[in-house]
């Protein structure tokens, strides 16, 4: 059977007379992966995400989304299987209160009210939004609005969740809340793609990292190899390593010793204190 998602020689431009924004993108994704999509500003991440969810239509190359039953889905069919949280949280607001906003998709699905109530209250508590549930979504802080957008997608339990910069402008504990809200559906079998510039979040959550450069895949590998083996290439692609990885690399250089595979503070501590 073919891969869950297959992208081959995919090209895209916004208008006829403009340059290609995606220039022959290739990768395959299996069900159950947890992927960070990274790359410089304007590298094409959001554009690629919009093609995958079916918001933009490409004219060149292949994009296939295969259902559990092995059928390649049409753009209309696949949209129902994917949830996307867009980069700009204001684009997504439909309802007049936070509660209704999160309940919207469930109501559309025809779920019974008591059940909706339980699910929505639960996620609002988890996302630290319960106290603003009666507020209009526009009258929230930006970070709160972003979490509302995410909550309203997660409750629908899509097969694939794509989050465009879910932790941008969030503090650490809110970022953790947001990422954990993706880990939960992932553990239940969903596939997760998150777009980010936050190196620490990549180091802590991603299994695999795909780096786009000028509309092409430049690096596609598991996360440890991404930071350790490709360390020297990252900067030229406008990416960096977490501060702790950088420290380990520098110390290895000056001492000639070998701290191995430091992605988190605890990796460092464990190797020095025995």
């Amino acid at each position: 059977m073919s891969s869950f998602i297959k992208v081959k020689d995919l090209c895209y431009r916004y208008r006829q007379n403009m340059d290609n924004v995606l220039e022959g993108v290739n990768f395959e994704i299996e069900r159950g992966e947890f992927i960070a999509l990274v790359g410089h500003n304007g590298s094409g991440k959001t554009t690629l995400a919009k093609i995958i969810v079916g918001l933009l239509e490409h004219k060149e190359g292949i994009y296939q989304f295969t259902s559990r039953e092995g059928k390649v889905l049409s753009r209309r069919e696949l949209r129902k299987k994917i949830g996307m949280v867009s980069q700009e949280p204001n684009n997504q607001i439909l309802e007049s209160t936070v509660f209704k906003e999160v309940a919207y998709g469930l109501r559309e699905k025809g779920m019974a009210e008591p059940e909706i109530n339980d699910i929505v209250e639960d996620i609002l508590h988890k996302m630290n939004l319960y106290h603003v549930r009666k507020r209009h979504p526009y009258l929230l802080s930006r970070g709160q609005r972003k979490r509302v957008a995410l909550a309203s997608i997660v409750v629908l339990e899509p097969e694939l969740i794509i989050c465009d910069e879910p932790t941008a402008a969030l503090d650490y504990s809110s970022s953790t809340t947001v990422m954990e809200s993706l880990v939960k559906p992932w553990k239940q079998g969903a596939t997760i793609i998150f777009i980010t510039h936050d190196v620490k979040i990549v180091a802590e959550y991603a299994q695999r990292t795909i780096l786009l450069n000028k509309g092409q895949v430049a690096i596609d590998t598991d996360v440890r190899s991404f930071f350790m083996d490709h360390h020297d290439e990252l900067e030229e692609h406008n990416f960096i390593t977490p501060q702790i990885t950088e420290l380990a690399n520098r110390l290895n250089r000056v001492t000639g010793r070998k701290l191995a595979s430091v992605l988190r503070v605890s990796d460092f501590v464990d190797q020095v204190v025995n």
Binding site: L139, G143, Q144, D171, I244, L247, R257, V265, S266, V272
Partner: protein, 303 residues
């Protein structure tokens, strides 16, 4: 306004409190803050604690563009009382980069976003061109000047907005998480430029961020906000070692500071002062790592 020591006091927030229309709770309470000319103040705090609200108050959007809100206390900015001064007067002295970049766009072309404020000031054409080139180099938008600001990527939008404020070189620049969607290298470079105009031109910066690593490098003052109140203000070196404080409000310390505190807890003999920067950590740890790993290596040889 009064002078404290050498430096001139530019902003004084006195017992400020604020309540949005139609909500029950005060969003800001008992806010006191002094900012002197040339300061680089970083404001940190959990999502929803009131950082953007305070920024809006500092430029006078609160109360001027919001009806039926409630206020307590006073805000002085460059000898003006914000409540009594029109926004247009305040904005001659204070430039602000909002958290929502789209809210700030006015033109159909990126270039015009940068040039607009300069033309309003009646600067000569050559001067405008010079500034445009300089700024688009700094924020890296040379390739998109002809595009519509609504048809560019999220990070490109943030770059444009930062550029439009930098172009005007106001006395005070308020940046409300301006770099959250920038790629890490772009972020480093643009922050370095902001640090530079702070150092070299003495432009006062108020910077809302969640990145303690940046605050540690750049600021001479950090202010921690929790649920609408400042719970701590001071030099990064005074404030950052207090790990509990940061944990309580969900803010993460620089990884090197976390490392210092963890290694110290495990009984290693380190510098007296916690690391704030990579360089400090590298300098202090080089010998320790060398001998520690030598031990490990020779132990391995025994087996």
């Amino acid at each position: 306004m009064s002078k404290e020591g050498e430096k001139e006091l530019l902003i004084r927030v006195e017992n400020f409190g604020f309540k949005y229309p139609g909500t029950r709770d005060w969003v800001l309470q008992d806010i006191n803050l002094d900012v002197h000319r040339g300061d680089f103040v970083s404001i940190l705090g959990e999502s929803g604690c009131g950082k953007s609200t305070l920024c809006r108050a500092l430029v006078g959007l609160i109360p001027h563009s919001l009806k039926y809100c409630e206020l307590k206390g006073k805000i002085h900015v460059c000898d003006m009382l914000t409540e009594e001064t029109p926004i247009t007067t305040i904005s001659k002295k204070v430039g602000m980069v909002f958290q929502d970049p789209e809210a700030q766009f006015m033109s159909l072309k990126v270039e015009d976003e940068i040039v607009f404020g300069l033309e309003n000031r009646g600067l000569p054409e050559e001067e405008i061109t010079r500034i445009l080139n300089e700024v688009s180099e700094t924020v890296g938008i040379g390739g998109i000047l002809e595009k519509s600001p609504f048809e560019i990527s999220g990070g490109e939008k943030q770059r444009v907005v930062i550029g439009s404020v930098l172009a005007l070189k106001p006395e005070i620049i308020i940046l409300d998480e301006p770099t959250s969607e920038l790629d890490p290298i772009g972020r480093k470079e643009i922050l370095a430029s902001i640090g530079k105009i702070n150092q070299e031109l003495g432009i006062t910066i108020i910077y809302v961020t969640h990145e303690t690593e940046e605050a540690a490098y750049l600021s001479n003052k950090v202010a921690l906000m929790d649920q609408g109140r400042f719970i701590r203000q001071g030099h990064p070196l005074e404030v950052f070692p207090d790990q509990e404080l940061f944990k309580n409000i969900g803010i993460r310390l620089p990884q090197v500071t976390e490392l210092y505190l963890e290694l110290q807890k495990r009984g290693l003999q380190l510098n007296d002062i916690p690391y704030l920067t990579l360089e400090e950590a590298e300098e202090d740890l080089a010998d320790i790592i060398d001998s520690k790993l030598r031990e490990v290596n020779s132990n391995e040889q025994l087996y």
